[in-house]
């Protein structure tokens, strides 16, 4: 993935660039909001992701994000910031951020979230995408594991897609149920378990981890 990173702390930026590049991503780093704006408007490169620090020397990262969203730019954006108050998170997400990570953090977590963002971006389109041995085709609602057709029904596919988009993260039962059913649709108490049970049969017993009372996590090797 090609990532544009806006971060004014040089030490942090350098180590991040190194870490992300090691994992195969291409990172362009700028330290000012204005430089990011210029890069996005003049560069011939296409950026897949924006990693944005909030407290920048030439203004607030949020205003840059708002400006981008106002002109119709839907580029997936992760805010990387020291501000962890709930108000800050809310205003960050309101401004159009797709995810929010508070410093300090583990490199692995940042990478997992960036991958999830990329997947979600692809999930929105109907293009096929891959997660390790898993291949999903949102257009046809079909999925393959190691090229074997999983033969999922619509709800099973939706469930798998929701889990795969945030692979490696626990997704709560309520959120999964929201994905499966529209507003007002009656959810039977054990429907989710039934679908998960079927998915496990097709993906393998250990592919989906249960966090009792909380939710599920897809644990396929990426």
């Amino acid at each position: 993935m090609r990532i544009l990173m806006v971060e004014d702390d040089q030490a942090l930026a350098e180590v991040l660039v190194r870490g992300l590049q090691k994992a195969g991503d291409v990172v362009d780093w700028v330290s000012r909001g204005q430089q990011a704006w210029t890069a996005l408007h003049t560069s011939t490169e296409h950026f897949d992701l924006l990693v944005l620090d909030l407290g920048l020397p030439d203004g607030d990262g949020l205003s840059l994000l708002r400006k981008l969203r106002n002109e119709g730019n839907t580029m997936p954006t992760l805010i990387l910031t020291a501000r962890d108050a709930l108000e800050d998170r809310v205003s960050g997400l309101d401004a159009g951020a797709d995810d929010y990570l508070v410093k300090p953090f583990e490199l692995a977590e940042l990478q997992a979230r960036l991958r999830a963002l990329g997947r979600r971006q692809r999930g929105k389109s109907s293009e096929e995408w891959r997660l390790g041995p898993l291949r999903l085709d949102p257009g046809q609602l079909r999925a393959w594991l190691s090229d074997a057709d999983l033969q999922l029904n619509r709800r099973e596919f939706m469930l798998l897609r929701a889990l795969a988009e945030r692979s490696g993260q626990v997704i709560t039962r309520s959120r999964l149920e929201e994905q499966l059913y529209g507003w007002g649709e009656e959810v039977e108490s054990n429907t989710l378990e039934v679908h998960i049970h079927h998915l496990r049969k097709k993906l393998g017993k250990d592919a989906i981890r249960t966090v009792r009372g909380v939710g599920y996590r897809l644990e396929l090797a990426e």
């Binding site: 702390d9 870490g19 020291a82 410093k103 300090p104 583990e106 626990v170 039962r173 981890r209 966090v211």
Partner: protein, 446 residues
């Protein structure tokens, strides 16, 4: 005491005092005036009488003296009653023959007439104004009596005539004054009401409530103060987030740089632990700093424990699972009166503790229980627990029982502070399911 009452009472008593003073004044002035008028009346009567006495022929004098008892006088002005409209002025004439010591008429008090001039006498329960006539060469002396009652009646009626309209005006004044004062002071009451309804974080300026200069001045200075306060608060809050920013970016860099070294290099794992601990201290100090602000603006509301815990555990599960520990939520409970953000802070702290103080592979359980009398939320770990004797100690700031772990020892102090504010009974207990480990019990009585 209300300003309105003070104003009303003060103005009314001033008006009343003014009225009374003017009554007393009018009464005494009127009395003097009336006296002068009536005295001159008495004098003119005396003039007539003296003229009559002087012109009496000598034999007449003797005759009068002889007949004083017989009441036969010719040309002598008799007692006269003057009808002055609504009241009567009554006057009487008394004659005295000093030589013969004879009085006419005999029913009046018989004080010897020695000297000419005005005097006062009591008679028939009334006070009379008198004028004595002593003429040279005339053996008969006269005393003219004028009832003072008349004077008083006249004055009283004058005052009465003034009192009724004055009282009417006074009542009217009271009414109008009440309205004016009420109107004038109502912006103050409105201001007070608005200020009392405000929450501690509502620092909007106050709109102008009245065109009155005083109210405008008050509003203006309150607004100035609010703006200054707002500035200070902003700066203070900004300070907390500045510190966070300044500390967290280098911490993040440090942590990532350490991760680049392989773990078997000497000292690396200690360095990583120190950085993690430092990061947690920064977190806790910041949340403590924010806590006071949140507590000051606390608004209790129904919170669904099920949903709150599901979200919170969903958010935290990744970290817990990453450390090789299991987490689960069992049981159900409905809503409690609380505040979701603060309650999350409590639960997050308890779960972080549970995760920190239990071994890899062990299970952290959160259990909800609901009965008619209470709602319980139990957070259990399978760690070493805390000895009963030291449980109160760990609730204080900066106390850590196990100094080898990261953290500043603020977690439980924060939990305690919030639980007090949210009216949650909380206790550190031994697990009630026979397992070893610590159980933190949050309890909401029903």
């Amino acid at each position: 005491m209300s300003l309105r009452r003070i104003l009303l009472v003060t103005v009314l008593s001033l008006v009343a005092i003014g009225q009374i003073t003017s009554f007393v004044w009018i009464y005494s002035e009127g009395q003097e005036e009336m006296e002068e008028v009536l005295d001159s009346d008495l004098l003119s009567q005396a003039g007539w009488t003296s003229l009559w006495l002087k012109n009496l022929p000598a034999e007449d004098t003797e005759k009068i003296a002889k007949n004083l008892t017989e009441r036969q006088f010719e040309g002598l002005p008799a007692d006269w009653v003057m009808d002055q409209g609504y009241h009567l002025v009554s006057s009487r004439l008394q004659l005295w023959d000093a030589k013969l010591q004879r009085w006419w008429p005999e029913d009046l008090p018989q004080d010897p007439i020695e000297k000419a001039g005005f005097g006062w006498h009591d008679y028939g329960g009334l006070r009379w104004r008198t004028f004595d006539l002593v003429l040279e060469d005339v053996p008969i002396r006269a005393r003219l009596w004028q009832s003072l009652d008349v004077r008083d009646v006249a004055l009283e009626e004058t005052l009465e005539a003034m009192l009724v309209p004055n009282l009417t005006v006074l009542v009217l004044l009271l009414f109008i004054l009440g309205i004016v004062i009420h109107r004038g002071l109502s912006p103050l009451a409105m201001l007070a009401q608005r200020m009392s309804r405000r929450t501690a974080d509502d620092l909007d300026t106050i709109p102008t409530l009245s065109r009155t200069q005083e109210i405008q001045q008050l509003t203006q200075s309150l607004n100035d103060w609010i703006l200054r306060l707002n500035d200070t608060l902003q700066r203070e809050r900004g300070f907390a987030s500045d510190v966070a920013h300044e500390l967290r970016s280098p911490l993040a860099a440090l942590q990532l740089q350490l991760d680049e070294f392989s773990a078997d290099q000497p000292g690396i794992s200690q360095a990583r632990n120190s950085v993690r601990r430092l990061a947690r201290v920064v977190d806790q100090l910041l949340s403590l700093a924010r806590l006071e602000h949140r507590l000051a603006t606390l608004r209790m509301q129904p919170v669904a424990l099920d949903a709150l815990l599901e979200d919170l555990l969903g958010e935290m599960a990744d970290q817990v699972l990453a450390k090789g520990k299991e987490i689960e939520l069992i049981g159900q409970a409905g809503e409690v009166q609380s505040e979701p953000i603060l309650l999350s802070v409590v639960l997050r702290n308890l779960l972080e503790n549970a995760s920190k103080y239990s071994d890899a592979g062990s299970l952290i359980e959160v259990e909800l229980r609901e009965s008619d009398s209470e709602v319980l939320c139990l957070v259990r770990d399978r760690g070493a627990g805390i000895p009963a004797a030291r449980r109160s100690e760990v609730q204080q700031r900066f106390v850590r029982l196990d100094t080898g772990r990261d953290g500043a020892g603020l977690g439980l102090a924060i939990v305690g502070r919030i639980c007090d504010a949210l009216h949650i009974d909380w206790q550190l207990q031994d697990r009630d399911d026979g397992q070893s480990g610590l159980q933190v019990c949050l309890r909401w009585p029903r």
